[in-house]
């Protein structure tokens, strides 16, 4: 039995979702998917195409990304330059396989809110905004959301504002993985350290599942590689 933290588990779970040869994009404040993409490239998906906001295609290292996953280091370490505007175009053309996106509230119908709590024009809370979500979630073949918070205010019956919806595929949290299937957010797997009861307690809607599966634990190989590619533990920056 290997020793790992939630951030390691989430990172490896995300990496496992990525296939060789896929074009994959992450945005700003996205250290965990950035590390996961790099992990996938180092292990099972060497031809994965890593795209990011500053435009460095397949950066050879993400070690210098400290506080930022939108910094110049990704271009400096990249093999070529393909910036944000063109990544959006790529997704519009149906050629972006996976997009990693955030959000603040998610509901059982797969709606995402990253915009406001309260009225849009006079909000109680102005959130940062959906960034590219509103065009990427409908157009990327698979949108993956990761969220380091899992509580009943995050996973709700109905979001207060629909920033977007679309090709949502998976949501990875510290407690579980949701899969969006047949128009509903369903439980895909729960993490080994938790229980169905705890996930239900922290989720604002009735969980949907056929059977309870546990998320695969990180392998020793993955954990070892993580140490190597992310020595400063950027993957845990949101914890």
């Amino acid at each position: 039995m290997v020793n790992y933290r939630i951030s390691d588990l989430m990172t490896c779970t995300i990496a496992d979702m990525l296939k060789d040869g896929e074009t994959v994009f992450h945005g700003v404040s996205s250290q965990m998917p950035m590390v996961a993409m790099h992990l996938a490239r180092k292990l099972h998906a060497p031809n994965l195409v890593h795209l990011n906001i500053p435009g460095g295609v397949n950066p050879s290292s993400v070690k210098q990304s400290s506080y930022s996953s939108a910094g110049s280091d990704l271009v400096e370490a990249g093999e070529s330059y393909f910036p944000l505007d063109q990544i959006f175009d790529l997704s519009m053309r149906g050629k972006l396989d996976v997009a990693f996106l955030g959000g603040i509230q998610f509901d059982i119908n797969g709606n995402v809110n990253a915009s406001v709590i309260g009225d849009y024009h006079k909000p109680k809370v102005r959130l940062p905004g959906g960034a590219g979500s509103a065009v990427l979630i409908p157009t990327a073949k698979k949108a993956i959301i990761w969220r380091t918070k899992h509580d009943p205010r995050t996973f709700v019956e109905q979001v207060e504002f629909v920033t977007t919806r679309g090709n949502l595929w998976k949501i990875v949290t510290p407690l579980c993985v949701f899969v969006f299937k047949n128009g509903k957010l369903q439980l895909d797997s729960i993490h080994p350290h938790t229980t169905l009861e705890e996930v239900q307690k922290q989720t604002g809607f009735e969980l949907i599942y056929d059977e309870v599966r546990y998320t695969k634990e990180p392998t020793a190989k993955q954990l070892q590689m993580l140490k190597q590619i992310d020595p400063y533990d950027y993957r845990s920056v949101e914890f």
Binding site: F88, A131, A134, R165
Partner: protein, 277 residues
């Protein structure tokens, strides 16, 4: 043509209610010295345009210089947290937040660069952003009869772009990621460059393949080393963590003014526009 201006002069050309496109992205290569000068000159009701803003938009909101923000994302990066002044200004109704999908800012600027009134956007199909914003509209494609979303063009009066190298005529080189800056230089009616270095005609000639913005598009060149700080400037300096954390903690407008004042000496160091190469 010699286009060097002082920071005061260049910012003086921005009138209240101008639409200002700000270069850079989140904490990287934002034209902060120029932004601070806009704050010092007490501009009002600016319309700010950027795909993803952070300290620039937050600071201008803090001093009450902003009327509208058109952006896809306004926030600091992970470790620094949310933009308190922007949020407050939007929540009190002082500032109108036009939320975009980042790409729709790009599309709206592409519209300006081609001088068309709108741009079609294929990805924006679902959700309340379409419902609540009058700058999005769904029409019928006259060729196929299918629905297509249009975003209304944003025509910036001016683009303010911070670069590493520029000559006195305005040939500007951006090292590292260019973000939306090149597009902004084609979308805006006027272009103001702030630059770390004013380089010689010889040096710019040696590097002509790297010129991102040709001189004839540029109206003014301002020499401000450190002009992106406390944001980062590739090959020059990284984010000033201390300054950012300090700023985010500030509450009162007077504190903000003090924060800006601390940059006066640095921002004005080349105010006399002496030739430096």
């Amino acid at each position: 043509m010699y286009k060097l201006q002082s920071l005061k002069e260049a910012a003086g050309t921005i009138s209240n209610q101008s639409t200002v496109a700000l270069g850079g992205n989140v904490l990287h290569r934002a034209p902060m010295a120029f932004v601070r000068e806009l704050a010092r000159q007490e501009k009002k009701e600016l319309r700010l345009v950027k795909t993803a803003g952070a300290h620039d938009i937050d600071l201008l909101c803090a001093v009450g210089a902003v009327g509208t923000v058109d952006a896809g994302f306004v926030s600091y990066e992970t470790v620094y947290g949310l933009p308190p002044h922007y949020r407050k200004a939007v929540q009190t109704g002082e500032v109108k937040a036009n939320e975009h999908a980042c790409y729709t800012v790009i599309s709206a600027l592409r519209g300006a660069s081609a001088n068309v009134p709108f741009m079609p956007v294929s990805g924006l199909k679902y959700g309340d952003l379409l419902e609540h914003n009058d700058y999005f509209v769904v029409v019928e494609d006259p060729f196929t009869g299918e629905p297509v979303t249009l975003v209304r063009t944003i025509f910036p009066d001016v683009a303010v772009i911070h670069v590493q190298e520029c000559d006195e005529e305005g040939n500007a080189i951006i090292d590292g990621p260019k973000f939306e800056d090149v597009l902004m230089s084609r979308a805006a009616d006027r272009v103001i460059i702030t630059t770390e270095q004013v380089v010689s005609p010889f040096r710019i000639k040696q590097n002509k393949e790297k010129i991102d913005i040709p001189a004839f598009l540029v109206d003014a060149v301002v020499h401000v080393p450190g002009g992106a700080a406390p944001a980062s400037c590739y090959k020059k300096y990284d984010v000033d963590e201390k300054a950012l954390r300090e700023f985010i903690g500030l509450k009162e407008k007077q504190e903000i003014i003090e924060f800006v004042r601390k940059y006066d000496k640095k921002d004005y160091q080349h105010e006399r526009r002496n030739r430096t190469w």
